[in-house]
C-alpha cells in the first residue's frame, strides 16, 4: 500500500525550476532511497514531503502530494501537525542545546502527548530504546545532548524524531558525517524502524541505498529518471542514465 503519492510535483526557487513533474509512490513501511548527483533535486523532493520548503521564501511548490490520501499542500493543512506525523533527520546531527532527556521530551510535551511525568519518562525511555541509544545514555539523561559522539547525537536526533510517533521519517543524508561503525548502527536502526514507520532516505552512498532500501528513485537535473525496486535498480536498471550513474560513468 502506498503511504505517499506524489503527482506532477514541480518546484521553483524564484525563476529557477528545481523539480519537473515528479510522479512517485512511496510504499508504507518500507525504505525508499533517493539517489542522484548533487543538485539533482532529491533533497528538494524530500523536503516537499513535510513542507519544509515553506520556510524558503522564494520556493514555490506545485502539484499534489498525498499522504494517507490527504493532499498536504492544501492551505488548511496544519504544518505543525503534519511535521508531527512526518519527522525529519538531517545530515548533521542537530540536538537541542539541552539535556538528553529534554531533547526527547520536548516534542511529546508540545504536542500534549503525555499526561504525567511518568508517561513522559516512558516516552523518553521507549524512544531511546527504539533508537538503540538507551543503554549508552540511561545513566546520564540529564547531561547535555551535545556531549555525545557524532553517531550518538544522530541516534538522539532519530529518537527525538520518533518520540512523537511519526508515520513517516525523512532522512537527509543521515550518515554522511558518521564513521562506518556509527553508520552501521544507523542502518541497523533503519531496518528496525521500517517495521513501524515509512522511511524516505536521501543518500549519496549508493551502497547504503542498496543496503537499506527496498525502493530506489534516481534523480537527475530535477527529473525522476527511474524509480523501482532497489534490487532491479542496482542489478539491471531500465534507463541508461541510471546505469551510468550507479556504475560510475559520469559526464
Amino acid at each position: 500500500m502506498n503511504k505517499i503519492e506524489a503527482k506532477k510535483v514541480n518546484v521553483f526557487y524564484g525563476d529557477k525550476q528545481a523539480l519537473f513533474d515528479i510522479n512517485m509512490d512511496i510504499p508504507e513501511r518500507q525504505v525508499t532511497a533517493l539517489i542522484g548527483p548533487s543538485g539533482c533535486g532529491k533533497s528538494t523532493f524530500l523536503r516537499c514531503l513535510n513542507r519544509m520548503n515553506d520556510v524558503i521564501e522564494i520556493c514555490k511548490v506545485e502539484g499534489e502530494i498525498k499522504i494517507n490520501d490527504y493532499d498536504i499542500n492544501q492551505k488548511s493543512t496544519d504544518v505543525v501537525r503534519l511535521r508531527e506525523k512526518i519527522g525529519m533527520v538531517f545530515q548533521k546531527p542537530n540536538p537541542f542545546p539541552k539535556t538528553l532527556y529534554e531533547n526527547i521530551s520536548y516534542g511529546p510535551e508540545i504536542h500534549g502527548m503525555a499526561q504525567s511525568k511518568d508517561e513522559l519518562d516512558q516516552i523518553v525511555e521507549d524512544s531511546l530504546k527504539k533508537a538503540a541509544l538507551w543503554n549508552e545514555v540511561k545513566d546520564r539523561l540529564h547531561e547535555p545532548g551535545t556531549g555525545l559522539s557524532g553517531g550518538q547525537q544522530q541516534r538522539l536526533c532519530i529518537a527525538r524524531a520518533i518520540s512523537v510517533k511519526p508515520e513517516v521519517i525523512l532522512m537527509d543524508e543521515p550518515c554522511s558525517a558518521l564513521d562506518p561503525i556509527a553508520t552501521a548502527q544507523i542502518e541497523e536502526l533503519i531496518d528496525e524502524l521500517k517495521k513501524e514507520h515509512t522511511i524516505v532516505i536521501v543518500t549519496h552512498s549508493m551502497s547504503q541505498a542498496a543496503r537499506v532500501s527496498q525502493q530506489t528513485g534516481f534523480f537527475h537535473l530535477g527529473k525522476l529518471i527511474e524509480v523501482g525496486s532497489t534490487d532491479k535498480i542496482f542489478k539491471n536498471p531500465n534507463q541508461q542514465q541510471t546505469q551510468d550513474y550507479i556504475t560510475g560513468r559520469f559526464g
Binding site: 542496482f234 551510468d244 550507479i246 556504475t247 560513468r249
Partner: protein
C-alpha cells in the same frame, strides 16, 4: 548497449583487462580443442603433447581471472552491468578451464591409442568435433561482441551437437562390437566422444552467461535436447 567509459580510468582498465584475459583464454581453448581432434584423427603425438603441455596456460588464466574478479568485488564493488561483467567472467572462465581439461584428456587418450583408427570413426569424430569447435568460436564471438543473438543461436544449436554425438557413439559401439581387440581403443573413443559432447555443454553454459551478461535476465526454458543418448552420462 554500448557503455561509455568509467570516470575512474583505472576501474575501466581493470574491467577491460578482465575481458581481454577471458578472450585470450577462450582463444587458447579453441586451439586446444582443434589440436586435440587433429592429433587424434591423424595419430599425431607431437600435437597431442602440445595440447597436454599448454593446459597449464589455460589453468593459469583461470586463476588470474579469479583473482581479478575477487579484486574487483573487494575494491570496486561493481554494480549493474559491471557486476554482471565481473560475475559472468568468473563463471565463463570456469567453463573454459573445463573445456581445456577435456581437450587435454582427449590428447592423453590419443597417446594411449597411438594407432591409426578406421576412417569412418575418425570422420565421425571430426564431424562432431568440427561443430563443437564452431560453437566455441561463435560463443567467443558473442562474448567479444556482447551479442545475445549469437549466444542464443549457439544455445539452440546444442541439439545438433547432441544428435551428432549420438551418431558418433553408435559408430564407436559398432567398432567395439566388431572384435575383442577393439575394446581398449573403443573404450577410449567412448570417452573422447563424451568429452566432445561435454565441451558442447560448457559452450552452451557460456552462451547462457553471455545472454545474462547483456540482458540482465536469464534464458528461460529448458535447453533444446537432441535424441536420447546411447550411453547415459552426467546429463
Amino acid at each position: 548497449m554500448t557503455e561509455k567509459p568509467h570516470t575512474v580510468k583505472s576501474y575501466e582498465e581493470q574491467l577491460q583487462q578482465l575481458t581481454n584475459n577471458l578472450v585470450i583464454m577462450g582463444g587458447n581453448c579453441e586451439t586446444a580443442l582443434g589440436n586435440s581432434i587433429k592429433a587424434l584423427c591423424n595419430n599425431d603425438n607431437t600435437i597431442a603433447d602440445t595440447v597436454i603441455n599448454n593446459d597449464t596456460v589455460i589453468d593459469n588464466f583461470e586463476s588470474q581471472i579469479e583473482q581479478e574478479v575477487v579484486d574487483l568485488i573487494a575494491l570496486r564493488q561493481p554494480m549493474a552491468i559491471d557486476l554482471r561483467e565481473t560475475v559472468t567472467a568468473l563463471k565463463i572462465s570456469s567453463d573454459l578451464e573445463r573445456i581445456g581439461d577435456l581437450a587435454k584428456n582427449i590428447s592423453k587418450r590419443t597417446k594411449l591409442i597411438n594407432n591409426n583408427l578406421p576412417y569412418n570413426l575418425t570422420q565421425s569424430i571430426e564431424r562432431v568435433g568440427a561443430i563443437v569447435q564452431k560453437q566455441l568460436k561463435l560463443v567467443l564471438d558473442s562474448y567479444t561482441n556482447r551479442s545475445p543473438e549469437i549466444a542464443l543461436d549457439v544455445w539452440e544449436k546444442d541439439e545438433e551437437v547432441d544428435n551428432l554425438t549420438n551418431l558418433c557413439m553408435e559408430e564407436v559401439i559398432k567398432y567395439l562390437k566388431s572384435g575383442n581387440e577393439n575394446i581398449e581403443y573403443g573404450s577410449h573413443l567412448l570417452f573422447v566422444t563424451k568429452n566432445i559432447e561435454r565441451i558442447g555443454d560448457h559452450v552452451t553454459n557460456i552462451a547462457e552467461q553471455i545472454y545474462f551478461l547483456v540482458k540482465g535476465s536469464y534464458l528461460e526454458g529448458d535447453r533444446p535436447k537432441g535424441s536420447q543418448p546411447i550411453v547415459n552420462g552426467e546429463k
